[in-house]
C-alpha cells in the first residue's frame, strides 16, 4: 500500500491459518484483497471479484466463504483458513493428495477454492455421496476438468480419512 492512495487505513487484527496478524488495511478492502495484497497469500484466487465463481473460497470459522465479497472487517475475530493453511505440518491434507492421485487439478486456478469447499464438506460429512459432493462443490466453477475427477478425489480423500490411511494406499487397495 502506498501513501498516495490516501485511503482510510485501519489497523486490524486478523487470524489467518492460526497466525494472528496486526495489519493496516484500507477500509474498503475485501478479505481476498487483504490476503493477496497485504499478507501475500496468493493461493486464494481472484476470479471475478463479485461472488460469481468461487475461486476465492476460504473457510471462515469452518464455513466456505467467498472472500472477494467479504469486507475484511467482517473477518475480525474469526478464524480464517486459506489453502495455505489446509495442510498441517505433518503433510498435505488427504484431499490434496487425493486430488493429485486422481488428476483432479487441471489448470489449477479453481483448485484452491474447490479444496476449501471440499474440506468443509468432509469436516461435517465423513462419507458423502456423489450427489452431496456435487451440491457442496456447486459454488465453485471449473472451466477445465468437467468436475468428474474432483468428485473421485473427494471420495478417495473421504475414504482415506475414515480409514486413517494415506490416499495412495487406499487407491492401491
Amino acid at each position: 500500500m502506498r501513501c498516495w492512495e490516501r485511503p482510510l487505513i485501519e489497523i486490524i487484527r486478523l487470524s489467518v491459518n492460526g497466525d494472528s496478524h496486526e495489519i493496516g488495511v484500507p477500509s474498503h478492502y475485501t478479505l481476498l484483497e487483504t490476503l493477496r495484497y497485504v499478507l501475500g497469500l496468493t493461493g486464494s484466487k481472484q476470479g471475478c471479484d463479485k461472488g460469481d465463481c468461487g475461486a476465492c473460497t476460504v473457510l471462515l470459522d469452518g464455513l466456505p466463504t467467498l472472500s472477494c465479497i467479504l469486507p475484511v472487517q467482517e473477518a475480525i475475530g474469526r478464524q480464517v483458513t486459506t489453502i495455505e493453511g489446509l495442510a498441517d505440518p505433518d503433510g498435505p491434507h488427504a484431499l490434496q493428495d487425493a486430488l493429485d492421485l486422481t488428476g483432479g487439478a487441471q489448470c489449477g486456478f479453481c483448485t484452491p477454492g474447490i479444496l476449501m469447499s471440499a474440506a468443509a464438506l468432509l469436516n461435517v460429512n465423513s462419507s458423502p455421496t456423489r450427489q452431496e459432493i456435487r451440491e457442496a462443490l456447486s459454488g465453485n466453477l471449473c472451466r477445465c476438468t468437467g468436475y468428474t475427477k474432483i468428485y473421485e478425489a473427494v471420495e478417495l480423500a473421504a475414504r482415506a480419512l475414515r480409514e486413517q490411511r494415506p490416499p495412495a494406499e487406499v487407491l492401491r487397495s
Partner: protein, 763 residues
C-alpha cells in the same frame, strides 16, 4: 474460414528431415500410466504462482479505456483530468509517441491501430493509464474525456451482408465468400431416396478462463521482459517484437502456471502491448489484469454460426450429397467465424458443396475457441445425420458406420490411422447403446432419451519444436522445452517421455518451459498439437543424450557401443549385466558434468495426414412441463492415438464434454443489438458456464488406440479439441430421442425447449 493460431504463420514444409531414425515405441513402461502431475502439489497447495499472483518491486497498474459505443469515431480526447488524478503516472493514447502501432488479425495486412480513432465495437481500446494502484488506474481511465461521433452499427450477420448495412471497414462488410466441394450435388440429391434440409444456429460463446487476462511488462534498457498468461510464448514474442519494432532477442516472454485459455490466450492481445508502452513511458514495471467483464468483451469468442444444411441419402444408408451454407461473423475484425471441415471430411460422400460466408459486425472479435468452428459444424451435421437415420429407419450408429471415410476427401490424402469405426462400435458397446435406445422413453412428464454424435479434428500440428535435455553428473535431468502447459499436463507428459527413454524417475527431472529467453521455439498450445509436436522432440533429445552416454560408457567399458544396452538408468554390456555402470559413475560424465541432447520434431509423414477421431454418447432426461434438460450420463470414445497419461487424457475428455454441455444447454453471449450494441451478460452470473450440477455424475472415457506408427514417433494424436466437438450434438440428438422434438438452435435453454415443445403441440 481459416483460423490462424499465430503469426508469423510458420511454414511446416520447410523443415529439415529428421536428424535421427527413431523407431516407434512398442510397449512402454512409463508412458501411458495414470501418473499424477509432476507439479501436482504446487497446483493443490496454492503455491503455484500464476501471472495474476505476481508483483514486481515498484510495479504500477494499468487500466484501459474502452469505447462504450458499438460503432463510433473519436473526435476529441482530453487526458488532462486523468493526468491530474492521484497516483497517475502515465496516460497514453493514439497520439502518444510510439503508440501508433498497426494491428493485425489473422496474419493479414493491418486492419486497425492499437488505439484506433475508428472504434468498431463496444470494447475497442481508446486510451490507457498507469497508476500506483489498480483502483487509481481504473478511476483515471474513467476520467479521460472523450467525445465520440456515434455511428450506426450492425450486429446481425445477415443484415451485415446487405448493401444498406453500415460499413465497418472500407470495402464493406463481406470478409470472405468461398465455395468449395466436389462432385455434383444436384445429381447427388436426384439420386437420393430421402432429402432433408434444415437451418441450424449456434450461439456466440465466450472462453472466459478462470485466470483472467494478465500481463506484467518490465524494461531493462532496450530489452523487454513480459510475464503473460498465454498459450504460447513464442507467438506472443514474435507479434510483440513486430509491434514494438524490436528484434526477437530483445523481447522475452515467460509463462509458467496459467489458469486456462481455450484459445483465447493464443494470440497477442492489445493489453500486452499497452503494458509494454506504459512500462516504457514510466520506466517502471506495469501490470494489466483485465476485469472479468473485459474477459467477456474484448479477448475473443466463438462466433455464432448459422448453417443451412441439405443432405441426401439412399434407403440403404449411403450418403449421396451434402450441401451447406455457412454464415458467421468474427466480429469487427477478420478473426475467423466458421469451419466447413466436418461437412467436407467426416463422412464418405461423393457430392459436397459448401458455401462459406464471413462478415464483419460491430461486435467483439472472435478467437480460436477449442476446435474453432467444429462443434458448431457438428451441431448441424450430426443432427442432420440423426434426422436422416430416423427417416431411413436405421440405427444412427450403424448409419455412421456405413459412411466412414477412409481418407481425407478434401485433398485425397490417406490417414496414418483411423479409429472412427472403433470409436463408434466400442463407444456404443460401453454405453449400452442398443439396450438404452430400446428402453421406454417414459409416458409421464419426464422423458428419457439417448443420442450420439461423431467428430474429428482437422489440424495435424505445426511440427517445429526444438527441445534440449540436459543430464547432470548425478544422473538427474533438466528438460528444457518451449511448450506451454495450459493445464493439460504438458510438463508431466514430457517428463514421462524423458523417463521412458532415460529411466530417470520423474522426481529427478526438472522442467524449464515456456520462456523465450531460455527455452527453444515450439508452437503454441492450441489446436491439440502440443503432445504430438513436442513429445517427439523431447524423445529425440532424450535419445541423443542416451547416444552420448553410450559413447562414454563404451570408452569406459572398452566395448563397442553396439554391444551396450541402456536400462533403468544404467548402461551394461548386453552379455554382461554384472558390469552395469550407473550414469553417475560414468567417468566421462563426471568430467563434463553435463550431457546436452538437442532434439527436433520430425516433419509430418509424406503423403499422409494424422488426425484424431471421436464418437460420444449421451443419455438425457427432459421434463416436458418445465423444459428442463438433464444430462444423465456421457460416454466418450476417442481415437487420439496413444494414451500418454491416462489421468490427463481422461481429464481432457471430461473437460471437453463439460464445455460441450455449455454449448448444448447453457452458454450464449447476448448483445443488446437493437439499442446499444453492448454485451448484456458479460459476467459469470448471466453467462452460464456449467456448474458441478450440470455435469453428469456418470462419465466414461473409452480410449481407442489404433497403434499408429506413422503419425509421429510417439503414436499420439491430438485430444483437446476432439473431446469438445461432438458433445452438444449428441445431447441434442438425445433430446430428440426423448421428446420427438428437434431443437436446432443452441443452447437448448429451458425457454427454447419449452418453445419447441409448444410449437410441436401446434400452440
Amino acid at each position: 474460414m481459416k483460423y490462424y493460431l499465430e503469426w508469423p504463420e510458420p511454414d511446416p514444409t520447410n523443415l529439415p528431415p529428421p536428424a535421427q531414425d527413431i523407431e516407434p515405441w512398442g510397449e512402454t513402461r512409463v508412458v501411458g500410466k495414470p501418473l499424477p502431475r509432476v507439479d501436482a502439489y504446487e497446483r493443490v497447495s496454492g503455491t503455484a504462482l500464476y501471472t495474476l499472483d505476481m508483483a514486481l518491486p515498484d510495479m504500477l497498474h494499468g487500466a484501459i479505456l474502452r469505447c462504450p459505443h458499438a460503432h463510433a469515431r473519436v473526435t476529441r480526447l482530453d487526458t488532462g483530468r486523468a493526468q491530474a488524478m492521484p497516483g497517475v503516472r502515465a496516460v497514453i493514447t493514439a497520439a502518444t509517441p510510439g503508440a501508433a502501432i498497426p494491428w493485425y488479425f489473422r496474419g493479414q495486412g493491418p486492419t486497425s491501430m492499437l488505439f484506433d480513432e475508428h472504434c468498431r465495437y463496444a470494447g475497442d481500446e481508446v486510451a490507457a493509464v498507469a497508476a500506483e494502484t489498480p483502483h487509481q488506474a481504473i478511476l483515471a481511465a474513467r476520467a479521460i474525456d472523450v467525445e465520440y461521433e456515434v455511428l450506426p452499427f450492425v450486429q446481425d450477420d445477415a443484415v451485415a451482408l446487405t448493401p444498406e448495412a453500415p460499413a465497418i471497414h472500407e470495402g464493406g462488410n463481406i470478409l470472405g465468400q468461398e465455395t468449395s466441394g466436389r462432385g455434383d450435388v444436384e445429381a447427388g440429391f436426384a439420386g437420393a431416396d430421402v432429402v432433408l434440409e434444415q437451418t441450424y444456429h449456434t450461439p456466440c460463446e465466450i472462453h472466459t478462463p478462470m485466470e483472467t487476462f494478465v500481463t506484467i511488462a518490465r524494461w531493462d534498457g532496450n530489452r523487454l521482459t513480459v510475464w503473460d498468461s498465454n498459450q504460447g510464448v513464442f507467438g506472443i514474442q514474435a507479434n510483440l517484437a513486430r509491434a514494438l519494432r524490436l528484434p526477437l532477442t530483445s523481447v522475452r516472454v515467460i509463462c509458467n502456471y496459467m489458469g486456462g485459455g481455450f484459445g483465447s490466450k493464443l494470440g497477442l492481445s492489445k493489453y500486452t502491448v499497452i503494458a509494454a508502452l506504459l512500462a516504457r513511458t514510466t520506466a517502471r514495471p506495469v501490470k494489466i489484469a483485465l476485469t472479468r467483464e473485459e474477459s467477456f468483451i474484448c479477448v475473443g469468442n466463438r462466433a455464432a454460426n448459422t448453417i443451412k444444411l441439405k443432405a441426401g441419402v439412399k434407403r440403404d444408408g449411403t450418403l449421396t450429397a451434402l450441401d451447406a451454407v455457412f454464415l458467421g461473423s468474427g466480429g469487427a475484425y477478420p478473426a475467423g467465424a466458421t469451419s466447413t471441415y466436418l461437412v467436407q471430411a467426416l463422412y464418405l460422400c461423393p457430392n459436397v458443396r459448401v458455401e462459406d460466408n464471413e462478415v464483419y459486425t460491430n461486435a467483439g472479435p472472435s478467437r480460436a475457441f477449442r476446435a474453432p468452428g467444429m462443434p458448431n459444424c457438428a451441431w448441424a451435421l450430426e443432427q442432420m445425420m440423426d434426422a436422416l437415420a430416423t427417416e431411413i429407419d436405421m440405427d444412427p450408429v450403424e448409419f455412421r458406420l456405413k459412411n466412414i471415410a477412409t481418407f481425407l476427401q478434401i485433398n485425397d490424402t490417406p490417414y496414418t490411422s483411423i479409429g472412427l469405426r472403433e470409436c463408434l462400435s466400442d463407444g456404443a458397446k460401453a454405453f449400452g447403446w442398443s439396450e438404452a435406445r430400446a428402453r421406454p422413453r417414459g409416458r409421464g412428464h419426464v422423458r428419457r432419451g439417448v443420442g450420439m454424435a461423431a467428430g474429428m479434428w482437422a489440424y495435424p500440428g505445426d511440427p517445429r519444436a526444438t527441445v534440449i535435455v540436459k543430464l547432470f553428473a548425478d544422473g538427474s535431468v533438466n528438460l528444457n522445452m518451449g511448450a506451454s502447459d495450459i493445464g493439460t499436463g504438458t510438463k508431466t507428459v514430457m517428463a514421462m517421455v524423458v523417463a521412458e527413454e532415460l529411466g530417470v524417475p520423474l522426481d529427478r527431472i526438472q522442467i524449464e518451459h515456456a520462456d523465450t529467453g531460455t527455452t527453444q521455439n515450439a508452437p503454441s498450445s492450441g489446436g491439440s498439437q502440443t503432445v504430438l509436436v513436442s513429445a517427439p522432440a523431447v524423445r529425440a533429445a532424450a535419445i541423443e543424450v542416451k547416444r552420448q552416454l553410450l559413447e562414454l560408457a563404451a570408452a569406459q567399458l572398452e566395448r563397442p557401443v553396439e554391444q551396450l544396452v541402456f536400462q533403468d538408468g544404467e548402461i551394461m554390456p548386453a552379455d554382461a549385466p554384472d558390469q552395469a555402470v550407473a550414469l553417475a559413475d560414468l567417468r566421462g560424465l563426471r568430467g563434463r558434468q553435463v550431457i546436452v541432447g538437442v532434439g527436433r520434431r520430425h516433419p509430418h509423414p509424406e503423403g499422409k495426414i494424422a488426425l484424431p477421431f471421436a464418437a460420444q454418447f449421451a443419455e438425457v432426461e427432459v421434463n416436458i412441463l418445465t423444459g428442463e434438460v438433464r444430462v444423465l450420463r456421457l460416454v466418450a470414445a476417442h481415437d487420439s492415438g496413444r494414451v500418454m497419461n491416462k489421468l490427463t487424457y481422461e481429464n481432457q475428455v471430461f473437460g471437453g464434454m463439460a464445455m460441450g454441455i455449455g454449448l448444448g444447454l447453457t452458454e450464449e453471449r447476448i448483445l443488446d443489438s437493437r439499442q446499444t450494441g453492448k454485451v448484456v451478460n458479460a459476467n459469470w452470473h448471466d453467462y452460464k458456464i456449467p456448474t458441478a450440477k450440470d455435469v453428469p455424475i456418470d462419465q466414461t472415457c473409452v480410449p481407442i488406440d489404433p497403434h499408429d506408427t506413422e503419425c509421429n514417433t510417439t503414436g499420439a494424436k491430438g485430444l483437446g479439441e476432439p473431446a469438445h466437438i461432438p458433445t452438444a450434438a449428441a445431447i441434442a440428438n438425445a433430446v430428440y430421442h426423448a421428446t420427438g422434438v428437434r431443437v436446432t438452435d443452441a443452447p437448448i435453454t429451458r425457454g427454447r425447449m419449452l418453445s419447441a415443445l409448444a410449437e410441436r403441440r401446434g400452440e
